[in-house]
């Protein structure tokens, strides 16, 4: 299968995603410049981490109007699997493909460390191979990852099972100390109602090989490969 990895000016985890999808899990991937409009027949789309457009104005606010985003929106609308890692999450929020917004971290610090994240739901194309409740140790690197949404939106996300990843302790407990940025309900990642668009602030693509400190994130990329093989509906090419 083939991944499209969108490259914005300021993306800096695009090559991490490329390495993970090609060298580590042995799939095809193409880096696609944000000014382009063609996803080149990709089966899944990754919006990578970084600082698209320098994070000017708000994280993701400028990137959401990049030409490629119309194609990403159409791909998502037709059921294609889309994932956002870190800055990619911020872009998907600004684009309205996911609900909510990011505030500055509660600590006002840029947090760059490994955290523990619990997989809440395995019924998305990006988590099918996970075990329910599985705890992954993966890195974060962000200053604006403090997930916020209005109380009625949070309630709806929880009721619909759209909270996909939560910050927890190594033992899997949801505590305030395990929350690195102040996100409501310790939310680290969510999905859309249709469940094909998933995003999280942590970086599974940078935790795909034990030599890099953790291989726990690889299951996210393996999951979408397995999902597509099993016949998750894919967008018209």
């Amino acid at each position: 299968m083939k991944f499209a990895i969108v490259v914005f000016p300021g993306s800096n985890c695009d090559h991490d995603a490329y390495h993970a999808t090609t060298a580590v899990i042995g799939q095809q991937a193409e880096l696609i410049w944000h000014k382009e409009t063609d996803l080149r027949g990709a089966d899944a789309v990754i919006l990578p981490g970084g600082f698209a457009h320098g994070d000017y104005l708000r994280t993701g606010a400028i990137a959401r109007f990049s030409p490629i985003m119309k194609s990403v929106e159409a791909f998502a609308a037709s059921g294609g699997p889309v994932v956002g890692f870190c800055n990619g999450f911020q872009i998907l929020l600004e684009a309205g493909l996911l609900e909510g917004a990011m505030l500055r971290n509660r600590s006002l610090q840029y947090r760059c460390e490994h955290v523990h994240v619990r997989v809440e739901r395995t019924d998305t194309p990006w988590t099918t191979l996970c075990q329910p409740g599985q705890v992954m140790r993966i890195p974060i690197a962000h200053g604006e990852g403090n997930y916020f949404a209005a109380p009625d939106v949070i309630d709806r996300l929880e009721q619909n099972g759209q909270v996909i990843f939560r910050y927890v302790t190594a033992g899997g407990e949801t505590t305030d100390a395990a929350n690195p940025n102040g996100s409501l309900h310790n939310i680290a990642g969510i999905c859309n109602e249709r469940r094909n668009v998933v995003a999280l602030m942590p970086h599974p693509e940078r935790a795909c090989e034990p030599v890099l400190g953790s291989g726990d994130g690889k299951v996210v990329l393996d999951s979408v490969v397995a999902s597509l093989r099993a016949g998750v509906p894919v967008a018209a090419r």
Binding site: R58, A61, L103, R106
Partner: protein, 83 residues
């Protein structure tokens, strides 16, 4: 006849949204002895030069721009002044 209007846009976090930066600023002010400052909310300020047929048209255009780009309606509200 179109003319140039100066528009000012003030973007602030909605009252229901916690402002970590404003919180740190007010704590710092209290540390400096300014106990009379009860609260601080940090925001953004924009100046736009707008070509439009009337002040109302300029205001409408700037409101549209603010809604779509300058502010994120999920967490922020904005105020437009046109002169």
């Amino acid at each position: 006849m179109p003319q140039t209007y100066k528009a000012r846009v003030f973007v602030t976090l909605k009252p229901s949204v916690f402002d970590p930066q404003g919180h740190v600023i007010v704590e710092s002010l209290h540390g400096m002895g300014y106990g009379g400052v009860a609260d601080v909310r940090q925001g953004k300020y924009f100046e736009l030069d707008v070509e439009a047929d009337s002040a109302d048209a300029a205001r409408a255009l700037v409101s549209d721009v603010s809604n779509r780009l300058l502010a994120n309606p999920v967490i922020e509200s904005f105020k437009v002044d046109v002169a």
